[in-house]
């Protein structure tokens, strides 16, 4: 590969990065936002759903998160990752929501497990995987909020400990401790499902 081709590929990769897309949207390119949204919409939605929120609440928080991104388009600066910027907004909205309506946060887990068991008409391996997935979701939901938040940001969104510390405005060692406890609880809870 020639040097020119390498440079061209790097330019393309640079153009396709989240940060360049957000800057382009800030200058009026609506298609850049379309691509950004397609990349991160599921991750943001799962972040809310995994906090054991109803579908309606998760969609409402998703909507508010992306509207805040739209409003902040002109003031956005590529000093950090776009994902850090995005999940900082999402987390703040989640915190506001949980402080206002703390009673509506939790959803009965027994109903979900029952739903999986009754709708199962698949093969043995598929049933096993589905049960394992549901058990994982239950174990995540049972985590304390701080541990759950760190676990979701690390495992679902792919952030590092340092990035999570930035998003959650916490010390790195505390984040690492939360991560450690969250993993141990989940592994213990899933012991019955994993050989």
């Amino acid at each position: 590969m020639s040097r020119l081709d390498l440079q061209a590929r790097q330019d393309i990769a640079q153009q396709e990065s989240d940060e360049s897309l957000m800057l382009a949207y800030g200058k009026g390119d609506a298609r850049a936002f379309d691509r950004l949204y397609q990349r991160h919409k599921v991750m943001v939605y799962r972040y809310f759903i995994r906090h054991n929120l109803s579908t309606a609440v998760a969609e409402e928080l998703c909507h508010d998160t992306w509207l805040k991104v739209i409003k902040a388009r002109q003031g956005y600066q590529a000093n950090a990752l776009f994902r850090t910027f995005l999940f900082t907004i999402a987390r703040r909205l989640l915190m506001d929501y949980s402080s206002k309506k703390s009673t509506q946060l939790e959803q009965p887990l027994a109903a979900e497990v029952e739903q999986v068991q009754t709708s199962n008409a698949w093969g043995e391996d598929r049933v096993k995987n589905q049960l394992l997935q549901q058990a994982l979701i239950q174990q995540i939901a049972r985590l304390p909020f701080e541990q759950r938040e760190v676990f979701l940001l690390k495992q679902e969104a792919g952030f590092s400990i340092e990035q999570i510390a930035t998003i959650t405005y916490q010390h790195k060692e505390k984040v690492k401790s939360c991560w450690r406890y969250a993993l141990k609880k989940i592994r213990t809870g899933l012991g019955a499902y994993v050989e």
Binding site: D29, Y37, R46, C62, W66, N129, Q130, R180, R187
Partner: protein, 281 residues
């Protein structure tokens, strides 16, 4: 020692979770829509994003489009105005070229032709009788000046236009059986039109007038031809008789003829039976 044990335990826990997520990601989900936002939410967010940036570019384009149009229009308009003013000033310096004949209002083609004929006749008379009046040889400039003066003298003939109008009006009249009478009337009008200007310039046209003979009177009375009054003197009348092909002017001695000349008869056509022959044969 305990830190090493904790780090080893953490690594095992991370490996367990990673393996679990790999297995779950490869396995098909019974309802993947539960893990994604709805289409309605997608459309709502994307519409808001497009609306937010939709109005801004239009304003920028509009402001840029107006500016260059104004900058090139102003100097071109100024240059066009300057050229127009200079050309008008230069045009005013030139002498006016005005044809005296064509500048006279009301002169139609007939009058122009007559004027030209009169001028030509004047020149011919000057050339034909050089002995009668001793004159110095005239230069071309003098002759042309005389012709122009002559034409100016004839220009008032434009006042004949009422007669010409009368002729045109008569020509428009529908002919219903009395074609001869109408033709005669047209001829009379034509004669009056020609005769009137010639009174002022008798050299131009000489009208043949002769005395009406007894034989002619009888023949015309028999045909009951039309005639019109021209003028009257102390001892004679002058009338125009409307023949089929021409109009003849006759002198009727008052000793021999009596004409019922009244005011209203001096303008219209009369019949020959009204003429009384006094000296009956």
């Amino acid at each position: 020692m305990s830190n090493k044990t904790d780090d080893k335990s953490l690594e095992q826990d991370e490996a367990f979770i990673d393996a679990l997520y790999d297995d779950l990601s490869q396995a098909p989900s019974p309802d993947s829509s539960l893990e994604e936002p709805s289409v309605e939410l997608d459309n709502k967010i994307l519409a808001a994003a497009h609306k937010a940036v939709g109005a801004k570019p239009k304003l920028v384009v509009k402001a840029k489009a107006k500016k260059p149009a104004f900058t090139w229009f102003k100097p071109i308009a100024s240059a066009a105005s300057l050229i127009l003013v200079v050309s008008l000033v230069l045009k005013q310096g030139e002498p006016p070229v005005i044809n005296e004949m064509t500048s006279q209002p009301g002169i139609d083609a007939t009058v122009k032709k007559e004027s030209q004929q009169a001028a030509e006749q004047f020149v011919m008379e000057q050339q034909a009788a050089p002995q009668a009046v001793v004159r110095r040889p005239e230069s071309a400039g003098q002759i042309s000046q005389q012709m122009v003066a002559r034409q100016r003298a004839l220009a008032p003939q434009a006042s004949l236009t009422p007669a010409a109008k009368e002729k045109k009006t008569l020509a428009r009249v529908k002919i219903d059986g009395s074609q001869d009478l109408l033709t005669a009337e047209l001829a009379a009008v034509s004669d009056r039109q020609v005769a009137a200007p010639l009174e002022k310039d008798k050299r131009q046209i000489s009208v043949k007038i002769r005395a009406l003979e007894e034989q002619e009177y009888l023949a015309y009375r028999k045909q009951n031809l039309a005639w019109s009054w021209v003028e009257e003197s102390s001892d004679a009348y002058v009338i125009d008789v409307m023949l089929k092909d021409e109009v003849r002017r006759f002198l009727l001695a008052k000793k021999k003829f009596r004409l019922p000349i009244e005011k209203e008869n001096k303008t219209g056509l009369l019949r020959f039976e009204l003429i009384q022959y006094l000296d009956k044969p």
